[in-house]
Symmetry: C2
Subunit: 197 residues, 2 copies
DNA sequence: AAAGTCATTGACTTTAAGTCAATAAAGAGC
DNA sequence: GCTCTTTATTGACTTAAAGTCAATGACTTT
């Protein structure tokens, strides 16, 4: 990586980090592009070198923490199905807490519409959750042959994002991690029971 | 109701109905306030007599179908707990299908933030779901005394909105009602099992 | 019928997203 | 080392649309 690319990377990272701080503090709608660029020490136009739309930065902000999880789970290759899923839920809600309510709200507002994917992102939106989960379920030797993989994947996604959404709706009134623990004990078992060998 | 009030009501209803059609067809971000008012045959300013912000009309659009459910369930006073909840999920997802993906997306985008409630709305946002559900659970004679009502209410909300969200994320790829049926059979039982008398 | 109320209007203000031609600094070729 | 090209950066500018408001006149009240 040469000097130019390094400096570009630095600028982009600075913008993402600054935006994260500002959104955490004030919320996405309460700040404008110039607030971000000023705080990052660059001009407004620079923002648009790295992001096509104002919203696109939210996906980049959240991609890092949520993308990490996907990698972590993918690395647990030989673990049992429930171990993977429990870990997944736990890490997901950890990131929800870390990102804070404003960022989570914007994350949901964006992923809710598949047409919002910026082409600059190598992975396609929520589908990196979807695809990873689907492949975990597909390759699991614990599930029966006729298990409805697609439906089960949708259910898991729905549970994850449902918790996140409910947490946002309630303005952060409960502990995400307590909920996750309870969920993994009770509901996860119920969901998979009919399809375990 | 006198002539003036009648005509005002008519204008407001016309705006809501027109907005529903336009949003269903094109999505909320793709239309502007003038598109709505022109299609409704009034001037732009009139919109702001009835709604403080552009977004506020989404809550009014969705309040009708989703508010109706709350009334319906409230009317089932003597029914069993599971009967009420099953009905609730079923009707909710029916409305999700009726409203269409664009309206559902905006509904989520709005209810996700409790600070968005327009004061003009008599009921407070998602809490008319929340409060009704909580009172159903509280007054049920089928649940143990020590059942964690608040947590259970959050779980139900999370399940409902999780399905809706997942449906939006997947761009309407599955049948909401099939999912609901399955959910009520399997998961609902698991969630409540530890707390049934 | 005079006075008051209030829905309606559309031109106007305001805000902020997004553009773009000019600049300067880095890299490539000789 | 010198020239030419590439590309990150800049901020003044354009554009789009949300939201305001004083004027109007139809309806209501007394």
């Amino acid at each position: 990586m040469n000097k130019r690319q390094l400096s570009a990377q630095k600028t982009k990272r600075k913008l993402i980090a600054t935006a994260l701080d500002l959104i955490k503090e004030k919320g996405f709608d309460a700040i404008n592009v110039e607030d971000i660029t000023k705080a990052a020490g660059v001009a407004k136009g620079t923002f648009y070198t790295y992001f096509k739309k104002k919203e696109d930065i939210v996906l980049e902000i959240s991609r890092t923490p949520f993308g990490e999880i996907v990698d972590e789970i993918a690395a647990m290759e030989n673990a049992a199905l429930f171990e993977k899923l429990t870990k997944y839920f736990h890490r997901f809600m950890e990131q929800v807490e870390y990102c804070g309510i404003h960022v989570c709200r914007e994350w949901i507002r964006n992923v809710i519409d598949p047409n919002n994917v910026p082409e600059t992102m190598d992975s396609q939106k929520w589908f990196y959750d979807y695809e990873m989960l689907e492949s975990i379920l597909k390759n699991s030797k614990e599930l029966k042959e006729d298990a409805p993989i697609e439906l089960l994947t949708h259910i898991i996604i729905s549970e994850l994002y449902g918790m996140m959404l409910c947490w946002c709706m309630s303005d952060g009134k409960f502990e995400p991690l307590d909920w996750t623990d309870r969920f993994c004990d009770v509901q996860l078992t119920a969901i998979f029971k009919p399809y375990l060998k």
